[in-house]
């Protein structure tokens, strides 16, 4: 690994500062003893206490995480299978049509997706709540997974697969030993983008949820009229801190292990 020059480092640092600036701004105000993201009055932890005394908010947070993880997982599985299938399509026209259909949910504004899913679910009589939200999140996350996985499929040359087949590998082995390992970075990218989609979605969830089931986004948006409470900042701060710890912790643990093995 060659040295990264100073200019590159500076550039990357700048990008990171911008990416994290609003988050630190939010966390900063979660310690505000006032009740909005304006004029910092004095330091307090009371909003953090509120988080833990408000069962409803914690339940909503956990719902949000479960829906995000599960929907991203299923969307990744279906999307990856779709991408593999699309790549093996011989008919160009069909392939382009499928790809265009794939992107429709990305270009459609959330209200339309939400309203049409709501009509769809009530038509088939699905009870609104966890399942309907999960299904919708899987549905609108699939296209982004396909977009992330497909370039990796295209990159992989067919000769690789042919070689494996010539060497006597079964089709299943080709899939698990050749294709999947090769496109793994794309799969992970798709998973994380699906996670982002799910965590950020408000409009679709709003329409398809019901019977007391709610996610953090729905809660935050409906607070807008009377003012978003700083408890939400506190909960976001906590989520951020925990995610950071998990990611960095996981990374160093696995890294050390790998080094140990070597």
């Amino acid at each position: 690994m060659e040295k990264i020059n100073k200019r590159s480092k500076l550039y990357l640092t700048l990008v990171f500062i911008v990416l994290y600036a609003p988050i630190f701004f939010l966390i900063f105000y979660s310690f505000n003893s006032g009740d909005s993201m304006t004029n910092f009055q004095s330091f307090t932890l009371s909003h953090y206490k509120d988080v833990f005394s408000d069962n409803r908010l914690v339940v909503i947070l956990l719902n949000t995480i479960v829906v995000a993880l599960l929907s991203a997982l299923f969307a990744t599985i279906i999307g990856t299978m779709g991408a593999i299938g699309i790549q093996t399509m011989r008919n160009r026209k069909l392939r382009n049509t499928v790809l265009s259909l794939n992107n429709i949910l990305i270009v459609s504004p959330d209200v339309i997706i939400g309203a049409s899913f709501l009509i769809l679910f009530t038509m088939i009589g699905l009870k609104l709540g966890f399942m309907s939200v999960l299904l919708s999140h899987i549905a609108f996350s699939i296209p982004i997974v396909v977009i992330m996985v497909l370039p990796k499929m295209q990159e992989m040359s067919n000769s690789l697969i042919d070689a494996a087949l010539d060497l006597g590998a079964s089709k299943k082995e080709v899939l698990t030993r050749v294709i999947l390992p090769y496109i793994q970075p794309g799969i992970f990218a798709g998973f994380f983008m699906a996670l982002t989609y799910s965590l950020d979605d408000f409009a679709v969830t709003f329409f398809v949820t019901g019977n007391g089931f709610s996610t953090l986004s729905v809660e935050i948006y409906s607070m807008a009229r009377a003012g978003v409470s700083l408890t939400v900042n506190a909960i976001s701060g906590l989520v951020f801190a925990v995610t950071m710890l998990l990611v960095i912790g996981y990374y160093f643990v696995t890294n050390r292990k790998m080094k140990g093995v070597r």
Partner: protein, 274 residues
């Protein structure tokens, strides 16, 4: 043989398309033909070809284009640098994590940051400049949009840059190619798939941006997404909202056809190489 495997893996994907793509399209198409009282009409389509909506279409495309270009210019070097770092996977994760915090909250934070009493203006006035109106300008709108989409651009580009054989670049340099020539003739063509994926993941959703057009641009920028939102939720004219959506879908098909054709040529070239 291959196509058989392909069709099997495609089954759940096709079910998804049928249920969650085709069905909504039919619904949207159907609604676009209804007027306020639920009668069939083509009025909505006529309405779309009035100056108001045409102007909106143009400005949506213009902003989506600018946002995509800036995203690309920022993301490509960033992805390249990250791919050369020691703990690259970790750094990549750190690029994604900010997007997991609720967008509305981050937008409120931006309102605070860009505001008259925010840190940027505080900084400007300490170094002796006058306070600037940053909020509610197209610049702040583009800034925040780019902010939102950067991870979507960096990820696919990273995946293709990461694979790039370092030796190839060195070889090109050794053979006397200038840095610019190497980038243009070696790097970019080899990472084209990633760039395309990134453009798709940014340009298409950027066409239908809403919310921040109001929160950050104060309605100085109005996109097709905003108009659909308004028609559905405020005017409750689902017919007109659906009509605009139909046009968005058509525009997207056109974009796909254009990029699809380029793919064909490239595919042929690659086969030749193989």
């Amino acid at each position: 043989m291959q196509s058989k495997r392909g069709s099997l893996t495609l089954v759940p994907y096709y079910i998804w398309i049928a249920l969650f793509v085709i069905a909504p399209i039919i619904l949207v198409g159907y609604y676009s033909l209804l007027d306020l009282d639920g009668h069939f009409t083509l009025e909505n389509y006529q309405n779309f070809f009035t100056p108001v909506y045409l102007k909106m279409t143009l400005s949506s495309f213009w902003y989506a284009f600018i946002i995509t270009v800036i995203c690309l210019l920022i993301s490509y070097p960033a992805a390249f640098i990250i791919s050369r770092l020691k703990n690259k996977q970790l750094w990549l994760m750190l690029i994604i994590i900010p997007s997991w915090i609720n967008l509305l909250l981050k937008t409120y934070a931006f309102i605070g940051i860009f505001g008259q009493s925010g840190p940027i203006n505080a900084f400007l006035s300490t170094i002796g400049f006058e306070k600037q109106q940053i909020l509610f300008t197209s610049v702040s709108f583009i800034f925040v949009s780019v902010y939102i989409f950067i991870p979507f651009m960096i990820l696919p580009i990273f995946n293709s840059v990461d694979k790039l054989n370092r030796g190839l670049l060195d070889a090109s340099r050794d053979l006397g190619a200038s840095r610019l020539y190497t980038i243009r003739r070696v790097m970019i063509p080899l990472t084209m798939d990633g760039i395309k994926a990134g453009i798709q993941a940014v340009f298409i959703p950027a066409l239908s941006l809403f919310m921040i057009t109001r929160l950050i641009a104060g309605n100085h920028v109005i996109t097709l997404g905003t108009a659909i939102e308004q028609q559905f939720l405020v005017t409750q004219n689902w017919g007109m909202g659906s009509t605009i959506a139909v046009f968005l879908i058509i525009f997207m098909f056109i974009i796909m056809v254009i990029t699809g054709e380029q793919k064909k040529k490239k595919g042929a070239a690659r086969n030749g190489k193989n």
